[in-house]
């Protein structure tokens, strides 16, 4: 069950500290970043491992503050890495500093994007900037994620997804995708953990879009999710049939999709070479079993269940992170919610 901990700071980002997959431990440490304070902080919290599963409700100890660190300006994005460095003034306008809005890590490389439309690449072991893509976008880049080790995907204020190949020296994207209708600004993007061509985005109108980057210019499916801006979208890292979104309207949704065929979802995947051998076993759904459950534009073919995860109406939920069975989210009501028994 959810319990709110009030922390006297509006939370803009929260992330679990990663645990290795080999140990079956549940994550117990998370980091939050605040915003809109005169002095913003990055704080590390622990929810203490109370050991066994004897307790019925996941309502164990409140998060306890371990340490905190001052931060200039609002914390707009967080990623966990094992090294810490500080690059100042990376994003700027001609006369002023520009806010940096998103960061993605693929150790040891770090990519950041900002309101100045630049993409900047750093390396954890180097002091200076490795590469700058100037004027990558004429509008603000809101989020960035790694698609493959050499490719990143960015979303911007005019509703476009741009694919960048970092091996190439050119300053233009290798691919641009956008909705053919209104150019609604996109604020978040996340890649499917196993199938690298599937990407989910959320934007100003609260619609959840799932895209197939290989095919065409159009999103594969559009789902009405929230009544206000969607701030974050996350696939569950180990169980990608589950997706989580959070929004300005104060709700956190848990999306669960189940595929039409009887085959468990981990057997389905983008391995087209196995199509012939599988079709003998495939039910009437035919080769749809190869396509991930997320790419079904027609919701009658796959069942999609949505549940609200927060008990009551709150101010905007700015950020969420999910790892294993644990979900943490932070709101503008200066509260952190931790749920340790997410049904995945």
């Amino acid at each position: 069950m959810e319990s709110a901990k009030y922390v006297s700071q509006k939370i803009s980002k929260t992330r679990w500290r990663p645990v290795s997959y080999s140990s079956l431990q549940q994550p117990d440490i998370f980091v939050t970043g605040s915003w809109d304070n005169e002095e913003n902080k990055v704080s590390v919290w622990s929810i203490g491992n109370l050991g066994s599963s004897g307790l019925e409700d996941g309502f164990e100890g409140d998060p306890q503050l371990i340490c905190e660190q001052k931060h200039d300006g609002d914390v707009l994005d967080l990623q966990t890495m094992s090294i810490c460095k500080h690059w100042a003034r990376a994003h700027r306008y001609p006369s002023d500093n520009a806010p940096s809005t998103g960061v993605a890590c693929n150790s040891p490389e770090i990519v950041t994007v900002g309101e100045d439309g630049r993409i900047i690449v750093f390396r954890a072991d180097q002091e200076g900037v490795v590469r700058v893509i100037e004027n990558a976008d004429s509008s603000t880049l809101h989020a960035v994620t790694y698609l493959r080790t050499t490719e990143v995907l960015t979303v911007n204020s005019i509703g476009q997804l741009k694919l960048w190949d970092l091996r190439q020296q050119s300053n233009s994207p290798s691919q641009i995708l956008s909705l053919s209708r209104d150019r609604v600004p996109l604020y978040c993007v996340d890649r499917h953990p196993n199938q690298q061509h599937i990407v989910a985005t959320g934007g100003q109108d609260g619609m959840l879009c799932v895209w197939d980057v290989r095919q065409g210019n159009m999103p594969f499916s559009l789902m009405e999710a929230h009544s206000a801006e969607m701030w974050e979208v996350h696939f569950h890292p180990t169980n990608p049939d589950h997706l989580f979104t959070c929004s300005e309207d104060g709700s956190l949704l848990h999306w669960e999709t189940s595929s039409p065929s009887e085959m468990p979802s981990f057997l389905q995947g983008g391995r087209n070479s196995n199509m012939t051998s599988r079709s003998a076993m495939a039910p009437a759904g035919g080769n749809q079993s190869i396509i991930s459950a997320w790419l079904h534009g027609d919701s009658s073919k796959s069942r999609l269940e949505t549940t609200h995860m927060l008990p009551s109406q709150t101010l905007s939920v700015n950020s969420l992170d999910v790892l294993g069975q644990c979900l943490v989210c932070g709101t503008d009501g200066e509260a952190i919610f931790v749920n340790r028994q997410v049904p995945v």
Binding site: Y6, V7, S8, Q9, K10, S12, W35, D36, N37, E38, G73, D74, L76, Y93, P94, S95, D96, A98, P99, T101, E115, D116, G117, N135, D137, S138, S139, T140, N156, S157, I158, Q160, K162, P173, I176, S178, S180, R181, D182, R183, P185, Q204, A228, E229, E248, S312, Q313, T314, L315, S316, D332, G333, E334, A335
Partner: protein, 654 residues
């Protein structure tokens, strides 16, 4: 001007030198103060003036991180309260209101405990005293709120009233339990020096069961007085307490109680307990003897404890309406000539007199923050306890207090988001206040601007939406982020700004010869229709694309339509015609005869208007020459094209 209720407090500004004149300016929640150069006559103080501006703020609580939790949690409760269904009559909603009141109180207690922990553990003495002060204020607030809950919200009738008041007193006199714990943990509790204090305190609070358990320990030590202790024990066990859920009526209870009271009185008059002064004391308390109770001032420590104890042992069936007689007399009796009546005492007295307005007014004066009065008044209003008491400017008291509180919140760099909900629930002036305040929230990042915009859009505040979008768009434009600027003007549906942006693009093109930000122009989509200039920009880019793909006929058609449909601004026609030149000069005839006529018409229109403009204006000779050459080139190409077109159209293909 009205009389001032209390003397205003004086605050010294440390940096400003003594004797200097200060200037000031009001802000939304504070005052800016500075030193002036004004020298009254005969003053010789000289030297450089102070160069600081001081910000003087009345309310420090808003910046305390622990109290912030109070503001946020109570905001949550407040919003929940507003959404309670109004269909049901207020009687059946009473338990809900009581539980909401308890929620508020538990939030106050949680804050208090946290503050207490910090106050104890901090090493900075100044901060320690500050925290200590905040704790005592919160204690007082909770005390008042609890009493208001008992008297106003729960509105217990005679009989249960006393029980509730007993609970109230017990909750706020925690030191008895601490003392009792000490005594019980000692080796011989009955010989502990606080033993009798604990027993008497239990009796004063009506906790007779616990008193009996303690007395048993004493009884075992004094076997000789066993009978006396047994008697006392039976008296204590027989005292009747009213049971609201039971079948007994109030009158029946009253009769029973009087019988018991007479019995105790008889034992007292018979001097049954005369040999043991402690038991005699307890007996006198049970009888409700005022002088004895007054002697226990130290154990009672407050006049309201005295009041409740006195009522318990002399008028347990007290009616709410009679409460204030006893309250006033108890207060007078308890305070001797040395102690003065404190603000808290007058507030509690006002509560006992059921004068809600006086309670709220006194609280507003004493506290430096509107939090308490705003939330309490709102809850009381929901219980329909406040008749609409109109103030000078026409809105009722609840709304006034909520507006004051919310305006105070708005000055905080972070809590302004909570304040929005408060404004929403002030029907008369809330919206207007919100409109004024929301425009003044500083917009440092896009994300903050987006949140503010969402607030405005949800409430259909289109003026504010347009103004905020314009601010962000101008900022983007100044930083040369044309795409951002365009997305802001699309959101505001601001056609004028979109036109401005398109002009910038076109200027860039004229200056550099190529388009910048192709990713934006190529993908305008339906946004193109926002402004004519934007449409032109999109179409012009399309023309370039068609030309690049060598689809000359379509390109030509598009180019012409841009001029004839008057989508292109006049100032750009020259450029368009110049773009037509390569098409005219192609070996293949691209423009038909009709099209060529139209082009010529356009050229004539352009030159005639240019002439009229040129005759008045001063243009350098070189520019005029260039223009003249261009026009002549065009005329030549058009003529040649016309010739070829006529020939081609007139030829019959064989």
């Amino acid at each position: 001007m009205e009389e001032v209720d209390v003397e205003p407090t004086v605050t010294n500004i440390p940096e400003i030198r003594h004797g200097k004149h200060m200037g000031f300016a009001w802000g939304p929640g504070d005052i800016l103060v500075y030193e002036t150069h004004f020298k009254p006559s005969g003053y010789t103080l000289s030297g450089p003036g102070g160069s600081f501006i001081h910000k003087v703020r009345k309310d420090e609580d808003i910046n305390s991180p622990i109290l912030r939790k109070l503001f946020n949690e109570s905001h949550h409760i407040f919003v929940g309260l507003q959404t309670i269904n109004d269909d049901l009559p207020s009687k059946s909603k009473r338990p809900q209101f009581v539980s909401i009141s308890r929620n508020y109180r538990s939030v106050i207690r949680a804050c208090m405990e946290e503050l207490q922990q910090v106050a104890v553990s901090t090493r900075d003495t100044e901060k320690g005293t500050q925290y200590g002060n905040q704790v005592s204020i919160l204690l007082a607030i909770e005390l008042i709120w609890n009493l208001c809950e008992v008297l106003f919200i729960d509105a217990a009738p005679a009989g249960s009233l006393l029980l509730h008041l007993l609970d109230w007193v017990r909750l706020h006199k925690a030191d008895v339990d601490e003392k009792a714990k000490d005594v019980l943990q000692s080796d011989s509790p009955a010989e502990h020096h606080n033993y009798w204090d604990v027993v008497v305190s239990y009796v004063l609070q009506g906790r007779l069961e616990e008193a009996r358990q303690m007395l048993v320990k004493q009884a075992t030590l004094q076997p000789a007085s066993r009978n006396m202790y047994k008697l006392m024990d039976s008296l204590l066990s027989k005292m009747p307490f009213y049971n609201p859920g039971g079948t007994q009526t109030l009158t029946e209870f009253d009769v029973k109680w009087r019988n018991w009271h007479e019995e105790v009185d008889r034992y007292l008059k018979d001097n049954t307990f005369a040999s043991n002064r402690h038991l005699e004391l307890i007996c006198k308390i049970l009888v409700g003897d005022e002088d004895t109770l007054l002697e226990q001032k130290e154990l009672l420590s407050t006049w309201y404890h005295f009041l409740v104890t006195r009522l318990l042992y002399s008028h347990p069936t007290v009616k709410p309406t009679d409460l204030h007689y006893y309250a006033q007399s108890c207060l007078t009796m308890f305070l001797d000539s040395r102690s003065v009546q404190e603000p808290l005492d007058s507030i509690l007295l006002a509560a006992f007199e059921f004068d809600i307005y006086l309670v709220i007014k006194d609280c507003s004066i004493v506290l430096n923050n509107w939090w308490f009065v705003a939330h309490l008044t709102d809850l009381l209003d929901h219980c329909k306890l406040l008749q609409s008491h109109n103030l000078n400017f026409g809105s009722n008291m609840r709304e006034f207090l909520l507006l004051e509180y919310a305006s105070g919140l708005f000055t905080h760099h972070s809590l302004w988001q909570c304040a929005v909900d408060y404004f929403d629930h002030c029907p008369e002036l809330g919206r207007a206040c919100l409109e004024l305040q929301i425009e003044r929230v500083p917009l440092d990042t896009e994300r903050k601007a987006l949140k503010v915009l969402r607030i405005c859009e949800e409430r259909q505040m289109s003026e504010q939406v347009r103004s905020i979008c314009k601010i962000m768009a101008m900022r983007a434009l100044r930083n040369n982020r044309l795409g951002s600027a365009l997305s802001w003007s699309i959101r505001a549906k601001d056609a004028a700004f979109a036109t401005l942006i398109s002009e910038r693009f076109l200027q860039d093109y004229c200056a550099k010869g190529t388009f910048s930000d192709l990713d934006l122009i190529d993908n305008l989509g339906p946004a193109m229709l926002l402004s004519d200039r934007l449409t032109f920009l999109g179409k012009y880019r399309e023309f370039h694309k068609l030309y690049g793909e060598k689809r000359f006929k379509e390109a030509a058609k598009l180019l012409l339509s841009l001029m004839t449909a008057k989508i292109a601004p006049r100032s750009f026609w020259m450029t368009l015609l110049t773009d037509a030149l390569p098409l005219l000069e192609q070996k293949e005839v691209i423009f038909s005869a009709d099209q060529t006529y139209e082009l010529m018409y356009c050229l004539e229109e352009l030159t005639s208007s240019l002439d009229t403009a040129a005759s008045g204006g001063e243009r350098p000779m070189q520019e005029e020459d260039v223009e003249q050459t261009k026009v002549e080139l065009l005329r030549l190409s058009l003529a040649r094209n016309l010739a070829m077109a006529i020939v081609k159209e007139g030829t019959v293909e064989t």
